[in-house]
């Protein structure tokens, strides 16, 4: 099974900040989006059990290779990085066009992507990619298993889960319930240096004349501001359990919660 995993380098969660231009400050250490690591883990398990290989596909500035290397060290076979100066400030619509165009240049049975991204991405790109490529789209997966010529997914629902099936190739979006991502082994880390990260420009994926990128963004940031601090409240310490409990009860009464 040939699997493409969409991976997004994001600022290390907790370290993110906006630059003066209102865009993400990319000088912050980049890591692979957490949910993408879960689907990468699922992809690696699938090829370990059923054969095949895993290609990483990412859209990011050319210099952002550390997180891609880490994903290669986890066990992916190769990486394709779409990188073009005009993509700075691209909106989700542009990103969708770019990833779909890049996928048209690759061979695959399954495309996997993580549910939302930690940098504020909404987890909407994969649905658009599937639609552009006319592929079945299965989202919110907690389990992915291959069928003969198809894929079965357990999709989380508000009340439990739905069991979905579709033919391959297909696009599947996964959640953290797929299982903890592995740590890259030291052998994987050393081996990852020899793996290929193929950098592609927009022209190379056939989008040279398309209105994608920062100049054609469908959305625009108008203003940013710092949140007002919530203000730290009362701190109670060094009480015995009964006194601590009654401090909580008193507070609940004070706030008219009970």
């Amino acid at each position: 099974m040939r699997i493409v995993v969409l991976v997004k380098p994001v600022p290390d969660p907790g370290e993110e900040r906006l630059g003066d231009d209102g865009r993400l400050d990319r000088s912050v250490t980049a890591v692979i989006n957490g949910n993408d690591e879960y689907v990468l883990e699922a992809a690696l398990k699938l090829v370990e059990a059923h054969g095949g290989d895993v290609t990483l596909l990412s859209m990011a500035p050319a210099g952002v290779t550390d997180p891609i290397r880490k994903a290669l060290a986890m066990g992916a076979t190769r990486a394709v990085l779409v990188s073009d100066p005009t993509l700075a400030g691209a909106c989700s619509w542009s990103t969708t066009q770019v990833l779909a165009a890049a996928l048209r240049t690759l061979e695959y049975d399954l495309v996997l992507a993580g549910a939302d991204t930690s940098d504020g991405g909404g987890g909407i790109v994969a649905a658009g990619v599937a639609t552009l490529l006319a592929l079945p789209y299965l989202s919110h997966a907690r389990r992915i298993e291959p069928l003969d010529g198809g894929v079965r997914v357990e999709r989380l629902s508000a009340a439990g889960h739905d069991v979905l099936e579709a033919t391959l190739p297909a696009v599947v979006v996964g959640t953290q319930l797929l299982g903890e991502p592995r740590y890259p082994s030291l052998r994987g880390i050393m081996g990852a240096r020899a793996k290929e990260i193929a950098v592609r420009t927009l022209a190379e994926i056939g989008l040279a004349d398309r209105p994608v990128g920062g100049a054609h963004a469908t959305t625009a940031l108008r203003a940013t501001r710092q949140p007002a601090p919530r203000g730290s409240g009362r701190v109670v310490r060094d009480l015995d359990p009964v006194a601590a409990a009654s401090a909580i009860v008193d507070f609940l009464v004070e706030r008219r919660a009970i």
Binding site: A73, Y183, S185, L186, R187, I189, M190, R193
Partner: protein, 388 residues
């Protein structure tokens, strides 16, 4: 944390490996450290983790399933693990120590027979030189190995053997020729602990590194194939000394890691704890403690890295470098962890915080693989040997 000044000398691979081990140490090892210390049980789960991640394969040649890492890379891994848990850092350090006689003197046949299981981390190996009455004076050991046809028969008792109770292999130093010159009496053997006559006769109760089992091993006419002799008869003492030249940096790395771990806790605490209306980190007396801790730790680290490079390039005074770094790092670890407890005040003395454990763990780095006094002896001898 390794300071930026240290980054320039590390290769991309070394940095990547250090960062990966550090992440693993922070996320998987640190949460286990207090419990390992409290229960004094060998962390088999973490041995498996180190094996799976390839960390135990670092010191072994690639042709036998290892990663073929240099000494500095191995030490970076030990340092990163020890910052979270000294017992866990020691799993790798002892694997290096136990395997070094084999790596230094083993034939290709012996390497092929023993190394793959060590490199995969399936088997652990211990180093058995010390005896109750032969510690610093290693040449005075009494365990005997007597040739009998195609086997040697080993009898005697070894003490203070790290991992002696969890290892599958033990590198045993035993007297083969009692009549020979003091430094030619001893030979080294690879002994499988499944051999009849081998028993773990006692486990020590220790002040620190409590999860690392320290065993007394009894050899009651244990038969070992002659094919397990490392090098030639009489090579043992020299081999033991060459082993320690390469293994002491691992202990120095453990010490640097412990010091850094304690410094990180103390610095974080000083930035949070408030007394007299401000965080204690704003008091200059506390700042002085922290600055000295950082300076000692960083100085020890830089000496260690230099020692690794010197030993790796085959410096003729490798013994001096290894003794220097162990001496400085061991003392730094003891001083820094003691100061860390001081920064935390009364809280530092409680097991709610890890610094008291780190202080207990630090002490061993001044004792094993040669006490600090022996290190000074080694250094002084090297100095005097160069004089006409």
């Amino acid at each position: 944390m390794v300071a930026a000044s240290a980054l320039g000398r590390l290769t991309d691979d070394q940095r990547a490996i250090r960062d990966a081990v550090r992440t693993l140490a922070r996320e998987r090892v640190a949460p286990r450290a207090a419990e390992i210390d409290r229960s004094a049980e060998f962390p088999e789960d973490l041995r498996v983790l180190l094996a799976e991640q390839g960390i135990l394969g670092l010191p072994f040649p690639e042709r036998h399933g290892g990663l073929g890492a240099d000494l500095l890379t191995v030490c970076l891994a030990i340092e990163a693990l020890s910052a979270a848990c000294a017992t866990t850092g020691l799993i790798l350090a002892v694997q290096v120590l136990g395997a070094l006689p084999l790596l230094l003197a083993g034939s290709e046949e012996q390497l092929g027979r023993f190394v793959p299981a060590l490199a995969s981390g399936r088997d652990l190996v211990a180093f058995a030189l010390t005896e109750a009455d032969a510690g610093s004076d290693a040449a005075a050991i009494r365990t005997r190995a007597v040739r009998d046809g195609e086997t040697y028969v080993i009898s005697g008792t070894k003490r203070f053997i790290s991992h002696g109770s969890v290892a599958s292999l033990v590198t045993v130093f035993a007297v083969t020729d009692p009549e020979a010159d003091r430094h030619r009496r001893i030979s080294a053997f690879v002994v499988e602990t499944a051999s009849p006559g081998f028993t773990v006769s006692r486990l020590e109760h220790k002040m620190g590194i409590r999860g690392s089992p320290t065993a007394e091993l009894a050899f009651d006419e244990v038969r070992v194939p002659a094919a397990n002799l490392l090098g030639a008869e009489g090579d043992g003492f020299g081999l033991a000394m060459r082993t320690l030249d390469r293994s002491r940096p691992g202990i120095a790395a453990q010490a640097v890691g412990i010091a850094q771990g304690a410094l990180d806790v103390a610095a974080a605490y000083a930035g949070q704890r408030r007394q007299f209306g401000k965080v204690i980190g704003e008091f200059q007396l506390v700042q002085g403690l922290l600055a000295d801790m950082d300076a000692r730790t960083e100085a020890a680290r830089q000496l260690l890295y230099t020692a690794c490079e010197e030993i790796e390039r085959g410096a003729p005074d490798a013994g001096r470098w290894s003794a220097l770094c162990k001496l400085v790092a061991g003392d730094a670890a003891m001083a820094v962890t003691t100061d860390a407890v001081q920064v935390l005040g009364g809280y530092g003395y409680l097991d709610d915080f890890p610094v008291e454990r780190m202080m207990r763990d630090a002490k061993i780095t001044q004792l094993y693989e040669g006490t600090q006094q022996i290190q000074r002896l080694v250094i002084a001898r090297a100095l005097l040997a160069h004089k006409p």
